[in-house]
Subunit: 422 residues, 2 copies
């Protein structure tokens, strides 16, 4: 290994100390300088990207994967726009969370602060490099980024633009070391990063389940895990079936490869005879195929794309145009199925019975629960947070979409006038 | 191993589902029933405790340790009172953290929920068993407790009271499995608990640094770490020296064995000649001895209890009546020393210069920073939180004292009327 990750960690820690002193204005200037640099370096970034695409094609990777996950050709404008938008978001650092004056006259406040050094480990998508770098910077955190090997050259070109911008800007509170990239595709660095507890305060993985599991099992630093979403939509007997159908279409087909896409449709037996055939007839022409358990199968057998569900089908995150179908006796049965099969990422109920909505919301312990709307809304931008660095399905620190506030911690500031503890 | 921890985890998970449905009133009834049971079982608990104390004396453990950490004789009243107090605290579960209606009409709320199942690993202090059990219960969490082997019989007796109370109360939403205790002193269970990610959502260790390190290194579940506090007090040139002295006395001597006790006194060179001899002359009669670096030594050499500081002395958490003494050039030098030696638990500045207080607060990245008051206030009760389950020095989820709110997470509840994502 030639890249010195330990030294990078040390530099990141020092950069974090400088960043903690940066004003919102200084941080925003740096974010905008990065946007300008990405614009100025667009040609070089796209040339590096072309090299990655060529290598991916030479390795025989699927063309859809290459287009969806690696190709920046039509995306540079969007990436630069997204970076500029971050400069406009409010800075959470310095916000007072609680403020109380105690009986002894002490003033105790919880004040938002940067976390320190954030390690990001992500697969593919070179836009994540720019995204994460500026979200961390905006919140006063230093970052050490580890991108996927398939887009290594693209990432290096993006990083060259970012580092160049910070060097040229030369702000004492935003040193160039604020954003660092592990300049190697050697996987050994991932493991080393996960144990760099002396310098790194938090690890955010973005990628598939195996990456999240690897991080959880190997890290000695707190990790925000997420990734896997086995997502259900329960259509209750009182549901507005037009809504139930358009929501299922949206949740299943709008972007089937993402974690908040629908995997299993649970339908109340009272309306299953009407709703299930209609759902299949609407979704099948969109390319969806179905895995139906016996009671559902009896209602849609012979319709296009329908096959009996296999044993693992209700424990599978499909990430493609496949949908599980199941008839349930009612709300209790639906809740029981979800509790047995969910990964507690995003869960929806479609109902006009407020008591059922309330029970579903209370008894389904998912990061996000949806009533009469699509699970696709489990997303930082869609929920009005202005940005998103990851979606957490663990319960500590942050749950669901993580935006700027979730990249901060707090400190207690206690101000007195000589008080001592009795 | 005869205790089936996996089965306990499974039962805890089911109990957590029931607890999530419990009302504040049900949870408070259970807490009060536990207090009553502890009162009714006091004799049995003290008899079990006597057995532990006898065994500890037979093993030759220090009498001060036995009295301070194991002995319940004069403590039962306090334990029962503390449990009753928890019933009176506000229930954070169900609190709405944010509530916004988006442009598309969706209502998105972040609502506080229990975390689920909490694993507590603690050393000695049988009062922790009752404390942690009711704090977890109050916040709707199931708990699996692992107490220290020295007070195993005391803990088992406390647990018998708790379990008996929950059995007798027989509330459907507060099953007896809500609070479980690992009925074995075999250390293998600690490691197993740290990896029980299928059932346990969070681990809180309470004990020395080695326990925290062990948890961090072995857990596949998020761990709240803390424990070690190398604590500084910087006395600035404008400090009110009477305050500086009484605060140092409080922070060093009130309870020397705890993590927010003072370890190092940093004194501005302009007032060191006046303040240091006075501090030594006040503290020495209280039994404090001193480790002074050369510049400080020159000012207090020959005074009682003073010796030159050794190489590791400024990187040591004393936990006893020893105090490091150092003269610094000023604020920058003090900040530099703290950044190099602190564990970022509790740090104090004594100054009448507001700009110095501001810089200290901003640039010292500790869980709690104190201006003109004692670091001993880094404590849940002292800061007005009404309770404390642990003090965190990590940056995710909770920092500083953890009380009821820190035992909760949140879920997103998104309510619509048929909206789909464009």
């Amino acid at each position: 290994m030639t890249y010195d990750l330990n030294a990078a960690g040390q530099r990141a820690k020092l950069a974090a100390r400088a960043l903690a002193k940066a004003s919102s204005d200084e941080k925003n200037r740096a974010v905008l300088a990065i946007a300008d640099a990405l614009e100025a370096h667009s040609e070089a970034i796209l040339a590096a990207n072309a090299r990655d695409l060529e290598a991916a094609r030479a390795r025989g990777l699927a063309e859809t994967l290459i287009r969806d996950r690696f190709d920046l050709t039509s995306r540079m404008g969007g990436i630069i726009r997204d970076v500029r938008k971050v400069a406009e978001l409010p800075d959470p650092v310095g916000t007072v969370i609680t403020d109380s004056t105690l009986a002894n006259g002490l003033n105790a406040r919880k004040v938002r602060t940067p976390i320190g050094v954030i390690g990001m480990i992500y697969e593919a998508r070179p836009n994540v490099t720019a995204d994460c770098a500026v979200l961390a910077l905006k919140t006063g955190n230093a970052s050490i980024l580890r991108g996927g090997s398939e887009v290594f050259h693209s990432n290096m070109a993006v990083m060259a633009a970012i580092s160049g911008a910070l060097h040229a800007l030369n702000l004492p509170h935003v040193p160039a070391d604020s954003i660092q990239f592990i300049e190697s595709t050697d996987r050994a660095y991932v493991e080393q990063l996960l144990k760099l507890s002396q310098f790194v305060d938090m690890i955010i993985p973005r990628g598939g389940q195996s990456l999240h599991d690897f991080c959880r099992q190997n890290a000695t630093i707190p990790v925000i895990t997420g990734g896997l979403g086995i997502v259900h939509q329960f259509v209750d007997d009182t549901a507005n079936l037009d809504h139930a159908l358009s929501i299922a279409v949206n949740a299943k087909t709008q972007r089937p490869s993402v974690c908040n896409a629908l995997d299993t449709l649970l339908v109340h037996e009272a309306i299953a005879g009407e709703f299930l055939p209609r759902a299949v007839q609407t979704l099948a022409p969109m390319g969806v195929t179905f895995r139906a358990e016996p009671r559902a199968l009896a209602l849609v057998d012979g319709l296009p794309g329908v096959q009996p569900a296999g044993e693992q089908d209700f424990d599978t995150e499909w990430m493609q145009l496949i949908l599980g179908l199941k008839v349930v006796d009612g709300l209790d049965d639906a809740i029981e199925h979800i509790n047995a099969h969910s990964t507690f990422h995003s869960e929806a109920i479609i109902t006009e019975t407020p008591e059922h909505a309330d029970r579903f919301v209370r008894e389904i312990d998912a990061a996000a629960v949806f009533v009469n709307t699509s699970t696709r809304f489990n997303d930082g931008s869609a929920l009005g947070l202005g940005a998103e660095i990851a979606v957490s399905t663990q319960k500590l620190h942050a749950r669901g979409p993580m935006a700027l506030e979730e990249l901060t911690t707090y400190k207690w500031v206690v101000v007195g006038s000589g008080q001592t503890r009795p």
